[in-house]
Amino acid sequence: MNFISYFRSLVARVLRGSEISDEMDEELRSHIAHRADDLERDGLVRVEAERRARIEFGGRERYKEESYEALGGNFFHSLVGDVRFALRVLRKSPGFTIAAVVTLALAIGANSVVFAVLNGLFIRPLNVPHSQDLYSLQRGKDTYIIQSYPDYLDLRDRNRSFDGLAAYNISEVALDTGKNPASVWGYETSGNYFDELRIRPYLGRLFHGSDEHGPNSAPYIVFSYAYWHSRFQDDRGVVGRTVRLNKHPFTILGVAPPEFHGTLLFFSPDFFVPMVNAEQIDAGSFLNARGTRWVFELLGHLKPGVTPTQASADLSSIGSYLTKAYPKDDDQPSFSLVRPGLHGNFFAPAIRAFLTGLMLLAGLILLAACANLGSLFAARAADRSREVALRLALGSSRSRILRQLFIEAVLISLAGGAAGLWGGVMVLHWLSGWKPFPEFPMNIPVNPDANVYLVALLLALISGLLFGAVPVRQVLRTNPYEIVKAGSTARMGRGIAVRDVLLVVQIAICAVLVTSSMVAMRGLAHSLHTNLGFDPQNTMLVDTDLRMAGYQGDEIPAMQKRMSDTIQTIPGVSAVGLVDVPPLHMGWSISNVFSDQTTDFRPSNAAATVIRYKVSAEYFRAARTALLTGRIFSNHDDMKAPGVAVVNREFARKILGSTTDAIGKHFKLPDGTRIEVVGIVEDGKYTANIAEDPQPAMFLSILQQPASDTVMVVRTTTEMGRDPAQLATAIRSKLRGLDAGLPSFIQTWDEEMNGALFGSRMATASLGVMGVMGAMLSITGIFGMAAYSVSKRLKELGIRVALGAQRREVLQAALGRAFKLLAVGSVAGLVLGLLATRVLAYIVYQATPRDPLVLCGAVLAMALLGLLATWIPAQRALQVNPLVLLREE
């Protein structure tokens, strides 16, 4: 009953606001009239009686307001009124409004983009059904994810914790659908892969565990929706057709659903084929090789009620069985579980550390923006103290005035949040579609979802309340009588105001950002000038896999020699070398090496794990890797000759003990092959991380260790190197002349290096953006402060000028404070920035904070920003005309 009547009055309030207001007016009027009647009866004249009645009644507006509140629904009603009023106020000062909204839009946009990336990679679960109990396996103390196929079978069949274990591997094949074969990337999966992940087909059917009957028994292919959509134009008739993968026929079974992009977050496979057919797709058959780890990841759903700890224990007991049964191949019994999607902990820690750092910086930007807006709001509140005083005097409550200010703040923050989110979504859409590596279907799954929108909204509201809270004290302390009497021009520059503190905080934050981005920039510059151990300029990389065109056994080296010889004939080509995987590529091979005395080749006996390259004799000349001592390979270092290797200086130092007498020493490969060291080359950068420490590497002769998937390093003259497109065309036509069915991928080595530099480039770019935003914020902050202080003190400045002050004195009076704050903030920021850049050293190559160039650069940048921001206010202060000013008063 109470509630219903309350609700009814609420509805009535909203629907018939003015009607009720009129009624209330009439009632109060009627009261006064009745009282006046009584007073008249007591002998007063009517006019006098009415006047007395009104006075006796008291503050009519106040009681009316209170009555509104008593009626309920008033909050909502006055809220609408306040919002309307706030909109009107904001429209009256468009410059302020736009500056505030843009500032916030930038800050919130930056935050939502960084959060969306964090969200896409670490928060959002893999987009498969029931992903909450899906786990990947990692093994041993090195937590490696990649396993061998026989181990997978044992783990799958012997465990009691998983509903089933699925496996997948990433592969590149030549796909021939009747036209020219194209190279595409996809998954080789265990037969049970789709069933274990509970994926239903979009079209046709998917393969099952029951389709597998030993090696090469399941020539079936399932396409991803995206590939089917773009290559087959949604043709539903493809099911049942045959396509050729590396020349082998595969039957199209069906199409996976659109939302399924495999089980690795940043890679969308184009196809899925059963892993039992790996021999037809990869360079060799490792289905029975327990010591060869190539299966990219194992994953499965835990059985209901089984905890990850129990599952790990279960798997580890299988692990100890495996190490007992196969001591030569398995040496790490322990298993643990990890969330799927990021290949265990391989990429995750670095990316997460970087993103967390970035999120922190973005948060700082938002904080700086809030400080910025807070001081603007405080300045505005000071300007409006007259209005506030007047409203207080007229009977408005302080809470009502504060609410009004907060509503303005929140309106601005919501508008800024909306604009920022809109911009952020644009950036995210671009990021989602971005393919940083043209030869590899990598994508970044950062489409915004509800999480992102929610966070943006929250950030907007929080920042609105944050900077809206700055002028609260000011309003609470307002003494209406004083202000109405004295005007609002008094009170400047006594004590340390909140505004000043805010400005210092903001400048400090911005200085941190500027310093960080400079450190990152220096790091990138360093990494570009570091010695790579090869020269990527004027070099083309031609990536081919002869198995894709059906070559086998002895045909492979023969064809490789033919290809090299043919390309050598192109005018301008000075050297052509072969390497299985070029240095600083996305992938690289590692191998254990053993001392010459070793007879038991279990991994724990290895002398070291080194990076392994299989190269032709010409490679060193083509890559310009300098030979320090000894010799490089010759064409006689083939199968008939004893095994030889060229090693780098680090290998010689670390494994052979010295670089001077390493030549002629021997070591052994995991298969027991004895290798003689014939040459030592310079150290270089090898893995896809340009910031790596020197690593031991060995180069084996490709004639002794054949590889079908190779990259030809084509060194050209400088003139030829200027036109890579023409060279690529020439190479392509030469290759087509040799074998029209061989897909190749040609790019310059510089382009290829983008992969290795991707990390530091992304880091530098994002830190650069943050730095620029920080700089912009400090400009607006200082500008706002300086302009305000000049405008407040125009009269004083005018008097100073009239009394004969020099330009320098005027400037000091007008802007001295701004500069003092700038200096304090900058110094604090620099110190903080130098501390923060220690964190950066993890991401950016040789990011050292104690770089004099960075220090000078940051100081200079802040000084420049200060000059830039105070330029206009300074001009204004100098152009003060005392006559005009004094006349105005």
Binding site: M1, N2, S5, Y6, S9, E23, M24, E26, E27, L28, S30, H31, A33, H34, R35, D37, E56, F57, G58, G59, R60, R62, Y63, K64, E66, S67, E69, A70, L71, G72
Partner: protein, 113 residues
């Protein structure tokens, strides 16, 4: 104006309910009635009556309707609803208990302790 007591917080509502329980009244009439039944001993600021009246209406203790007063003016008349009557009884009891307790307490003499 002398000898008037300030209202204790919360007592205005009870006074209004009591005044209206004796017959429907308009706002000014409520004031007059309170003055009459309290022997003009209580000081009520005239405007302060209205927020209280509206609050009671919102709580469903009073209902209001427009009518014509003795002065031949349009005025809004208030009367008790059934819940209002119930509330008045409860408040009266509560007040009486409090008043008895207070006066007993204040009448205490040293020898009684």
């Amino acid at each position: 104006m002398t000898e008037q007591a300030q209202l204790l917080p919360g007592t205005l509502d009870l006074l209004i309910l009591k005044a209206v329980s004796l017959g429907p009244l308009h706002g000014y009439g409520v004031l007059l009635r309170i003055g009459q039944i309290s022997g003009s001993a209580l000081l009520i600021e005239q405007g302060a009556l209205y927020p209280a009246l509206f609050r009671l209406v919102r709580q469903g203790l009073l209902k209001a309707s427009w009518g014509i007063s003795d002065n031949n003016r349009r005025a809004k008349f208030y009367e008790l609803t059934t819940p209002g009557r119930k509330r008045l009884r409860e408040e009266e009891d509560g007040w009486n208990r409090l008043a008895v307790a207070m006066s007993t307490a204040l009448a205490a003499r040293p020898e009684e302790v």
